[in-house]
Amino acid sequence: MQRTISILTLALFAFVALAKDPGMKKGTPDIASISVLKFNQDGVLFIGDSKGGSVFAVNLGDNEPSTNEESLNIIDLEDKLAGMLGTTADNIMIHDMAVNPISQNVYLSVSRGRAKWTSRWETPNDLVDADILIRISPSGEMSEASLENVEFASVSIPNPVDASIEHRWKKGAKLRSDAITGIGFDDGKVYISGLSNEEFSAALWTAPYPFVQDVDVNTLEIFHGAHGKWETASPIRAFLPYELNNQKKILAAYLCTPLVTIDAEKLESGTHVKGRTVAEFGSGNYPIDMVLYQNNGKDYILMSNSALPLLLFDPQDVANYKGEITEEVKGYLAGVSYTPRSGNGVQQLADFNKKYILSTQRLPNGKLALTSLSKEWLYP
């Protein structure tokens, strides 16, 4: 019996290996900025390159399955990264984090650029391009993940926001740093959020995977309750494809902090789409990451923020919410409610393993730690 299982397991891994893009070529991808990281279920790393206006699918050869259920904590993550990058911790900046669901290896896109930080509104990608990928094993060993001589495929996003356009109110920042703000997967599709050069610049691109050079684009419009107006220039900051009431939706969070559902089944190429604002989570904040996880067999979504606490909401509450926010919200809170969770200073989030969600967290002592949040304790 055990032998049969082993053979089946090998066959499954062989399938996983074959499930990678047959169009991949071996070489060194020409990535200008490692702006966004996301793994698909097969362990292929997708890298959003805002500066280059492309998304790369990279096979890092990291396909050793792990059944680890332990937590991972590194109390002085920035110090260790600083040592590796030959600088001091106050100059280290983590742009994004992703976990390979096959191996549980953690990947960070990193730069030496935090010393340039001057405004709470600046995102890491506003300041400098992430230019190194760091791998952390489930046991905490850190190394560089080389992007030289790897299997990869890429797709260009059509008409990304022009590299010369200054941000309207972030001094010195270019809109191009938001050309790609997030990546998500559903049913053979890769969703890419960001800013385009279209009249309504907030955009959601949809690319089939394996990649072909046929990428659909939809421009987006949402009602921002805290601002009391319809907006088209602000990009999605964090999103998840999710099925609500048997309909495929994009659950998207924006600056200052509306939560919006976008009907994924009605995304016809080239159309302008209006999202339905279902919540206002608070002002003066940008969402950083959203993670879907299960507690006692039930789905929840955890969201990290620049200036709000770690917040948790039940997607069923979104499904049950019948209204739409179309008028100015006084007090910045409306619609679907959330549960604030302890986790002040949590920045990056990624699903780690069966029991834990991984986070980077700025601790009261000023250090940035890699910490594990127990799913068992994350419920409303």
């Binding site: 110090d79 260790k80 600083a82 040592g83 590796m84 990058l85 030959g86 600088t87 001091t88 100059n91 030496r112 190194i132 850190m142 190394s143 560089e144």
Partner: protein, 384 residues
Amino acid sequence: MKKIFLKFIQGGSLGLLLFFLSLNHAQAQSFFTAKTLPSSPEYGTITTRLVPEEVVDLINKQNFSFEEWSSFFYIKTNPNAPAVLGKYSIKNNHLSFTPKFLPDPKINYFVTFSYPKLSELLSDAINEQNVYSDVASFEPPETTQPEVISFTPELDEVPANLLRFYVYFSAPMGLENPYDFITIEDKNGKPLVDPFVIIPEGLWNINHTRLTLLLHPGRVKQGVGPNMTQGDVLLAGNSYTLKIDKSWKGSSGEPLKADFSQTINASNPLRGAMNINIWALKAKISNGIGILTVITDHPLDQPLAQRMIFIRNEQGQVLPVQVTFDSPEQLKVLWRHQGSDQLELLIDPRLEDVCGNTPHYAFDLEGTERTPSTEELKIKFRVN
């Protein structure tokens, strides 16, 4: 010797590291050269001195990963940090490390090359046991014209059997032959013939900012061949002038800002071993910092003393120290004071005075074997 290494490695503190360095740094020349100027196309690269060809051949046969390379040749931002990422290469029997990112001028980089660690990777195929370590720092983008900023020993009169001068520069100097630009003239302005041991490219620290001028020991030591044929370099009672020509270029390609000259008055030779038993020690605590003032019987070789003098507490821990000099015969040892007031001043037996005399040996003692003694030298003291 290996046992001594292990004893101190286990402590893991910076002080231990420094003690560890001292065991391998009796010579003033660093084992490493760093490209410290932003104008250099190899800015940030750190290169070892010559590694034996047979060792290089063994390395070349391996295809070392970064993790393997960095197990024996590594650069760290502090002793407990992971190794700085970068690439390793071999050229003309020199091993080089080029960091992935440009160096940060604000910080010091701890550089180590460990033959024992390399031997482990090569299945103990090499016998060399030395571990070389140094600290490198890098210049910020704006560089200035170099100039001589100090000269030691700072003595009104130097013993006529002086062995070394040190010249300090404000910025890294180039690889031109230093001896083409440096002369010692007698009181009549006549240059002395062959006063220095000529070492190609000179004896430099890792940053190429401190040059060691080694006066010809065969002429300094009495009764040996060169002394018999060429005579002493310096004669007691005479004055000399050491001159450095401003046409000498720094690493940036810019010449020295000005000519440099230093009068050297030679006094009676200092022959005989140092006697640490007559050193005067006085210690105090100020704002948690221990300050030990030591008056020595001989003017010390300052760069060596800064690497070879330590403090040990009652628990046997070697503490990180800073050694500064009021004069070549009076130094201060500073440490962060905690715990017991009973301490020991540790002195590496290879410490030398300015004439090459150690606590065990007189440089000039005929027939003395100068095998370094491993006997521990210590002076107990108490802080008040």
